[in-house]
Symmetry: C2
C-alpha cells in the first residue's frame, strides 16, 4: 500500500498523467476534496491530465502510513497553478484503498477551504 | 471539525480520559488501527482510560486538515508506554467524522506494523 502511494506521488511529480491513472483500478473512485462529487473512469483520467498541466508538485509532510488492512494514508502539501491564476498550496491528507493487485480502488482527499492558500510571489 | 480534533489531542495530552470520551457521540465507532475490530460504547471509554494510563502523548506532524463535509484528518506521532514494556512510537493518521453537534461519530486510525517502533532508551 505504501509503495502504491509513493508511486502516486512520484508519477505526479514526474508529470506522468498516464502513469498516475494506471495506478487506479477501472472502477476506482476519487472524492477530492472529501464532501465533493465522486469522480469515476474518464473523469479520473481527465483529473490527472489537469493535475499535470497545472505543474502540480506534492511535498509529503510525514512518512506514508499503512494500516492492518488494504488502506494507507499520506499527509502532504500540494502546489499547483490553475490556468490564469496564481500558484496555490493545499494542505491535504489522502486516504487510499487498494485491491489485491495493488491498484487504488478509492482515494479520498481531506482538505477544506481553510487548508488552501495563494503562494505569495517571490520578491 | 478542526476544533474537535484539536480538543482530542489536547485532552489526551492532558490525561483527561473522561474529557476525551465526552468528545464522542454515544453511538460512535473507533477503528484503530484500520483493519482491526471496531470499538463501541464502553470499549471506547476503556480504550481512553488505557490511553491515559499509558502516559500517551500526541505530537502533530502537520496542521489538521478539514474537508468540504463533516470530516477532518490529522497526521501525528504518538508515544506511549504499555504496562511492563518499553516506550513506543506510532506514526499515524486519524480520520474523523462528526455529527451536527460537533461530536465525533467515527475515528479511523491509519497505521501498520511498519509504522510502530520502540523508542531507544536515552543514554
Amino acid at each position: 500500500m505504501k509503495a502504491g502511494l509513493q508511486a502516486y506521488v512520484d508519477r505526479i511529480n514526474a508529470g506522468d498523467a498516464d502513469g498516475v491513472t494506471a495506478l487506479f483500478a477501472p472502477d476506482a473512485t476519487i472524492e477530492d476534496p472529501v464532501g465533493s462529487p465522486i469522480k469515476h473512469g474518464p473523469e479520473i483520467a481527465a483529473w490527472f491530465r489537469d493535475t499535470v498541466a497545472f505543474n502540480t508538485r506534492i511535498y509529503p509532510a510525514a512518512p506514508i502510513r499503512g494500516s492492518h488492512g488494504a488502506e494507507a494514508a499520506l499527509a502532504f502539501d500540494v502546489e499547483f497553478t490553475p490556468p490564469g491564476a496564481r500558484r496555490m498550496r493545499i494542505r491535504s491528507v489522502d486516504v487510499c484503498t487498494f485491491d489485491e493487485q495493488g491498484r487504488i480502488t478509492s482515494l479520498r482527499g481531506f482538505w477544506g477551504p481553510s487548508d488552501m492558500e495563494v503562494i505569495p510571489d517571490e520578491a
